[in-house]
Every structure is written in C-alpha cells, then in structure tokens.
Symmetry: C2
Subunit: 355 residues, 2 copies
C-alpha cells in the first residue's frame, strides 16, 4: 500500500460504518482503519461476509487495518486525516460521541459525522473547536448481522460542511471535496456522492423518515409495510411527517411538498425493518434524543404544535428507560419508590443514580 | 344446595370472572356456574388456588358448577336468571360477545356486562332486544396465572341498568337490586356494591384509566410506575387523560376535576401491570376498539381534538395486527403486497382475507 494515501479512521462498525469502510477501501484512494469492538476477534480471523446490491459480494473482507479500540487505532495507524463517526448518537447513553472520538482527534483531523438527527454539531464543535467538522448523510438501508453485511439501496452519501466558524470557506470546501474524492467510485451506479454547501435541508428531509417511520416501527415492533397494512399511512405517518415539515419550516428550512409522500413510499414492498427497530430488537439504546428530543425542542421554542411526535417521543423515552434497566445501566428497586408520589419518580431516580 | 336459588352463569374465566364467581359463590345466595375453556381439566381436578387481599386464601376452590362450553352450561345447569359476561370485548376478534353468549340467553336471562369500554351496549341490545341489560364495573386489580387468582384492591362492583327501552324502570331496578343482593357480602370490608341509576359517569371515569394507563403500558411493555419513572405523568398521562375528560364532556358527562389525578396515582408504588399489558404479554388480542376506537368516534363526531389518544390508538392497531398475525388469524405474504402502493395495503389485506 502506498503510504502517502490519506489516512481515514472509521469509528462505528455497524451497517453504515462497515459500508463506509468498504467504499473507502475499494476505491483505493485512502488507507482505512476501522475500530471494531465486540466482533474484533472474529473479524481478524474471518473478516466480513459482504452481500451488497451494488458493490457485489465478498468473503473474508477487511479494511486495511482493524483496531479493537480508538486508542489503539490512533497509536498503531494514526494520526488520521479524516475521522468518520458512524456510531449512534445517544447523549443519554453511557458515553457521549465527543468522549468516544477524543483519543483519535489531532489538530489535522477532519471529523465527518455520519449520524442521524438534528442539533448534533453543537456539542462536537464545543469539544473540538479547532477541527473542521463535516456532515455525511448515508442513505443505504444496510444491516449487519454478526459479520454479514447487506444493503438494499445504492450507497448514496450527501456530504457538506457543518459548524466551521474560524475556517475559511475554501479550506473547508477543500476538505469536503477531498473526502468526496476518496469516497466516490468511478462508476456512478456503484455509489454516489453529492456535495452540498448547506446540508440542513437534506438533514431535515432524512428526519422526515427517521422521526416517523423509524420511531414508530421501533415502538410497535413491526416493519414499515406491516404498519402500513394496519393503516398507518393516512392517520399516523402522513400527519406525523407534516409535523416534521412544520418544525423544519419554523427553522427556516422549507421542504418540498413531495418529501412526505416520497419518504412514506420509499420502502413500499420491501418489508424493511428500520434501524431503530433493529437496534431495539438487539436491546441497544436508540437515538430518541437526536431524532425526536432535539427537534421537539425547536418546535417548543418556535411555537410549533407537534402532538403526534411528542407522543411518540414520550413513548420511546419509556422504552429507552426499559432498555437501560435491561442493560444494567440503571437499577429500579420497587422499595426505593414506594411511599413517594409518582409525580416525583423521575427526580427520585436521579437521586438514586447519584448515590 | 337449595335448588330455589337464582341461577347465575359467569362467562369469562380470567381474573375478573373468577373473582365474580367467587364472590357470588361465597355469599351463598346464588347457584353459580362458570364456563372454563382451556383450563377446564385442571380446574375440575384441582380447582383454583385463591389468594385474595379481602376474601382470604383457598386451595382447590370451585364454583358450584364448571362447564367447558356455553352450550353445555345451558343444557346441564340452565336456564340462567343472570348471565355475567366478563370476557374481553373485541369486536375485531374472531367472535363477537353476542355470538359468545347466545347459547345461554333465554327470555328470562338478565345480561350483566362486566366489561370495559364505551359503546358496548348497542350491539348487545340489537342482538337481544327483549333481555334486560345491566352493566357492572368491577374495580379489583386481579390477575389469574394458570389457576392462581390474586388481587390487590378490595372487590368493588358498580352496578347499573344499561340500554333497556321496553322495560319499566321498576322492573329493571328490581333486577339490579337482586343482583346486588346476590353479590354483596355482609361485611362491607370484604366487597362493596354500589347501585347507580346511570353509570355513564363511572364508565367514563374508568376509561380515564383504561384509555391512558392501560393502553400506554401495553404499548411500551412497562408497568405504570416504570412509565412514571420515565416521566410519563406530566407530558403523557395527564394530557391524555384530559383528552378523555374532554370527549366525555362532549357527550354530556362532566367528570370531576380530580379524576385524572386520582386515576394517575391509584397505583403509586404498586408496580402493577394493567390488564392490557398482561393480555399482550400472553399474546392475546386487546380491547383497542372499545377502549379507544369507539371513544375516538365520539370525539370525531363532536369535534373534540384528541391527538394523543389518536396516536396511541393508531399504534395499538398496529400491535393488534401483529398479534393477529402471530395467532394465525391473518396471514401476511410479502409477495401479495409487492407491486401495490402502500396506501392501498389495508384494502389489499381485506381482499386477501376474503379469498
């Protein structure tokens, strides 16, 4: 391998991270390291089994380097030109994204957040004020089961600058364009990179899908099409999507009218389980805050009434509490709550957690 | 046993039905038959194990007669003076309540519906226009696991006439009072019967609990107190309860202001799983129509906006579809839907079911 290639670190070895590492590796323009935690031994031994609608199938596939921790990746293969973060963003989880990536961020590192949600740039910029921050939206519909990766759409990356006060526009856009170059395959049928100078619109568009279909499938345990068989399009999906459009509008982002229809029908006939449902079935925490909590804060601030999204948010917060209990992140002892008014239970939990 | 005692048939051998049969039997003023389907052999052999906060504990308990079907109950122990129906009311299930009870309804039978929901009297009255129809609301918090019955509150029965055009007020009230007499224990600490001439208010009050706590626990899979630990009281339970109160008001039923607070706190510290969650965990269909669907029809008719209840209703309908599929009541083959617009999936399911 030519050592002069830009070094890219991919953190987050789920469906999206694995595809990102694969795209970058296959294109041959970057030296790619991926952090793989729980499946490290298996990936080192047998690699991934890849079955993709576009890239084709590979057995025993691995990027150039695999490390078991972010620290080891940095010391063995860093410093990195680009750090691509594809983990879920769960500010209410055990570690924030800023804490996760810190060991591999040097002054020259451009951070590429390939994550869902709204409002995720602010804590990142606060933690690494000198680094250039880019945003990637990857539309792919990939899943990872063990070390088997598959996908159902073409790999489409929308890339844009994020929160970059203090850097010139030219400097930032040169990083955007360099990363696009590393990622984009010569054959546009294989993958597709679109550079946008302002990604807010794409981001809110993706939220139309995520805040509605992703959350409701997670809550009910069913794939999108089964929800639709139960009649969800008319009385649940469409009015909830219009709430997202209204919140976006209150933030100055005017989405096209067709976006709701497009997102609602993007999976017709696929009987596809969205990522939040997959996570929940794996007993993993879900991105309830960045998908619903932050947007609903904008709604409240701007006086937008979003009762369906609010209800779904409250219900998912209950599910999330349950997950935290199942994972041992919190402990609920009945006797710690008995004798208290249930209005005070949330505060009581906080007090108990501090002990 | 004195053969001149009034004959009572209890249909529905869950927590509520078993307690009703127990109360009626222990009071000694009626000859009690209960229909027990799936647990028939076990109940005939070993009876029930009863552990009640009020009635005490009994091993090997049985009412006077146990029958395996409604038809056998009628032919072996009928005709009945009172038929107490304590099954769930699921008009979208495999058999309506009217179909279930028909074999044991004779001209003299007074039908006592001890069921949840709003709007359940109309189909019953249409099927049996000559029979007197009473309504019972049983507040008890009982559960049945196998043949073990327990409860957490005192047995409180609210009894009233229901839809009885064509019968004199005196005739109807004499049946109400007779049934109250059969049910009421001499010791008011053991159980409690309140006769109400109009039960609509009690019914809507119970709906404040059922339409909100019962449904949301079922959806999220958590008991009431855990939902409250996640913060549900303020942003979910209370506003949803106020929607029930608004719908009731639009039907001319003015509930007391305290009812929401009372219902929200009735289970503080009990970590109690409401019946719909228990049903759902047992993969049983839930009463989504009589608890939410019918009340929301009133809301629509009367122009009351109830977005939280509507959202919960739509989500529960999705859960119900899933249950029907798991129980084999419907079959969903992916290829039957592929190539169709998902807006048309509900109609497509109907067409496929008819085949």
């Amino acid at each position: 391998m030519a050592t002069e290639l830009p070094k890219v670190l991919v953190i987050g070895s789920g469906g999206v991270g694995t595809i990102a590492a694969l795209s970058l590796t296959l294109n041959g323009k970057a030296e790619v390291t991926m952090v793989v935690r729980s499946a490290y031994e298996q990936v080192m031994k047998d690699g991934y089994t890849v079955k993709l609608v576009t890239y084709g199938s590979f057995d025993n596939w691995r990027p150039h380097h695999v490390s078991s921790t972010v620290e080891k990746a940095e010391s063995d293969h860093g410093p990195f030109d680009f750090l691509v973060l594809t983990t879920k963003n769960i500010p209410d989880g055990s570690m924030t994204c800023e804490q996760i990536i810190a060991p591999a961020v040097s002054k020259k590192t451009t951070i590429v957040l390939v994550q869902n949600g709204i409002g995720i740039d602010e804590p990142m910029k606060a933690a690494f004020p000198e680094n250039i921050l880019l945003l990637g939206i990857l539309l792919i519909g990939s899943t990872l089961k063990g070390t088997l990766v598959d996908n159902i759409y073409k790999d489409q990356l929308i890339l844009s600058p994020f929160a970059n006060d203090g850097h010139s526009h030219e400097e930032v856009m040169s990083r955007v364009n360099l990363f696009a170059e590393l990622y984009k395959n010569a054959d546009p049928e294989v993958n597709y990179v679109r550079v946008e100078e302002n990604s807010k619109k794409s981001r809110w568009e993706k939220l139309v899908y995520n805040a509605v279909l992703n959350t409701i499938c997670a809550l009910t345990g069913l794939d999108v099409n089964r929800c639709q068989i139960a009649g969800a399009n008319k009385d649940l999906f469409m009015p909830a999507m219009k709430e997202v459009v209204a919140i976006a509008a209150s933030e100055g982002i005017n989405l096209d009218d067709e976006i709701c229809y497009k997102m609602m029908h993007i999976g017709d006939g696929l009987f596809y389980a969205p990522s939040m449902l997959v996570d929940l079935n794996k007993k993993q925490l879900c991105e309830v805050e960045v998908i619903l909590g932050y947007p609903l804060k904008f709604a409240e601030r701007n006086g937008v009434y979003a009762p369906i999204l609010s209800t779904v948010y409250q219900l998912l917060k209950i599910k999330q509490l349950h997950l935290k209990e199942e994972k041992g992140m919190i402990t609920i002892n009945l006797e710690d709550f008995q004798g208290y008014n249930s209005d005070d239970y949330p505060q009581r939990l906080e007090e108990l957690q501090k002990k």
